[in-house]
């Protein structure tokens, strides 16, 4: 008996091969002209795995704290073999995962995959998106360079403006009144322990829900299929879709490797808490639309602090986004038009503000 057959028999005698692999054989993916959008979630998952592996590698040499953080990253970049590559892949992948997660979110929004019964899949996905932004924010300070220092100062000051809970939040995030070595230790803890723990559980829930409900087909396609049932197309998840997904992962890895090798991430200059902020300092591109909006809001609107209104506005928008499935109509085939419209509006606003923020002085 071949090794493979013996292995299969070993599993079969204990767990029942047929029952174990039944979900895999049963699972299908709707096949239609929008099927390509189904790859985005998988690519995001793949990039998360890349972050876990490269993050674990960086942990071998990284040291938090104001006196060690910059030097240890410098050591990784200059002394450790392929250290520059590992850090660059981690940084590039961090940027790409934000992009793919947003793209995945908007594709789910426009293809209406959040509808009943998949509300909780959407909610868990939205929380994961916020967690990804949290990963980006907490990881940004870890090299302890000038831009990351000021970005963290500003980024922690923004929630500090919220009435009542603002001040304690700021102290909690900074580990004191100011951004110091204590802040690096805190962000490090969030970045490598708390966020990964929560994210792993949520990813399992998210994938479990997808497995439970199956993959959604857009209402437009479902309508077409209902009119002519012969046109319904589905492919098996395993191996047909899985192999396609694997090719997408392979391509993503190629893009990632090329970006990291051709454009290695800069380390910058070590943070100096007693130096002025450099001119033209900006956050990472994925926070740029909020940054630019807050810059444009007048200081006072009807006697209320403008910045505060902006922050609360973005908070409200995030809240609405999380609860989106519950705002849509209950009939699965007649989704509300305004949601698509609002989605287009928000997406155009984010893109326009990001471009504006990129070129604005």
């Amino acid at each position: 008996m071949s090794l493979r057959a013996r292995l299969k028999q070993w599993v079969d005698e204990r767990f029942g091969w047929e029952a174990l692999t039944a979900p895999l054989r049963k699972k299908t993916v709707p096949s239609h002209r929008y099927s390509y959008w189904y790859f985005l979630g998988g690519i995001t998952l793949f990039l998360f795995l890349i972050q876990v592996v490269t993050g674990a590698l960086l942990l071998l040499y990284y040291r938090p704290g104001a006196n060690d953080a910059f030097e240890s990253v410098q050591f990784i970049m200059t002394q450790v073999q392929f250290g520059w590559l590992v850090r660059s892949i981690h940084s590039w992948s961090a940027n790409l995962i934000v992009f793919t997660a947003f793209a995945h979110m908007f594709s789910v929004l426009f293809l209406k995959a959040y509808r009943k019964p998949r509300e909780l899949t959407w909610v868990s996905g939205m929380v994961l998106l916020f967690l990804i932004l949290g990963f980006g924010f907490t990881g940004y300070l870890l090299p302890w360079n000038t831009v990351s220092y000021f970005a963290t100062k500003v980024g922690t000051a923004i929630p500090g403006q919220i009435p009542l809970i603002g001040r304690p939040t700021l102290i909690f995030l900074r580990g004191g009144e100011d951004v110091t070595g204590a802040t690096v230790n805190r962000m490090f803890g969030f970045h490598v322990a708390i966020l990964p723990g929560i994210a792993t559980l949520l990813i399992m829930l998210h994938l479990g829900l997808i497995q439970w409900f199956g993959i959604s087909a857009p209402p437009k396609i479902e309508k077409e299929w209902k009119q002519s049932p012969a046109s319904r197309r589905e492919m098996h998840f395993f191996p047909n879709f899985a192999l396609r997904e694997l090719m997408a992962w392979y391509a993503a890895l190629g893009v990632l490797g090329a970006l990291a090798a051709l454009f290695p991430w800069n380390l910058g200059v070590k943070a100096d808490p007693f130096a002025s902020a450099p001119a033209g300092i900006k956050p990472e591109w994925y926070f740029l639309f909020m940054f630019q909006s807050l810059k444009l809001i007048p200081a006072k609107i009807f006697g209320v602090d403008g910045e505060l209104l902006g922050v609360l506005g973005f908070g409200a928008l995030a809240g609405i986004a999380v609860l989106l499935p519950f705002l849509d109509r209950k009939e699965p085939f007649n989704t509300s038009r305004w949601i698509t419209g609002a989605g287009v509006l928000v997406l155009s606003y984010m893109v326009a503000m990001t471009i504006y923020g990129h070129f604005a002085r």
Binding site: L60, V80, Q81, F82, V86, L253
Partner: protein, 152 residues
Amino acid sequence: MDSQSTAPPLARRRFVELILGTGLIASALSFLYPILKYLIPPKLPDYANEAVLAARVSEIKPNQGKIFRFGSKPGLLIESAAGEYSAMSAVCTHLGCTVQYRSDLNQVWCPCHNGMYDIHGRNISGPPPRPLEALDVQVRGDEIFVRRKTEG
């Protein structure tokens, strides 16, 4: 006729599998290689090739030992009852614990597994397989310098 019509597609399939498989294995190796290299910690400069100030003459009395920092590892300086200095690595040759001088025994003792060395670092009882690495001692005025023994 039958064998002719089935054999070529199978051979073609074998060929495609071979090409794809080789490509996948090659790329997997190219991802593994940097990771394995990354895991090897870079060599840090060891300053123990220069003379290290181990102690001052006034600090150490006959039949006494002192642990000092020798590069990245501990060293042991002993003044014998007769007033002679000897220095050696303080890293036990058994499993790397740091040894100490026992005035009551006039011997160097490793507490981890009861290893014994004489005041020149020669292993005399217990598990240590080799003598401790002997170091050169130089007294300049009040200062006692220790350096690695030069070959030859």
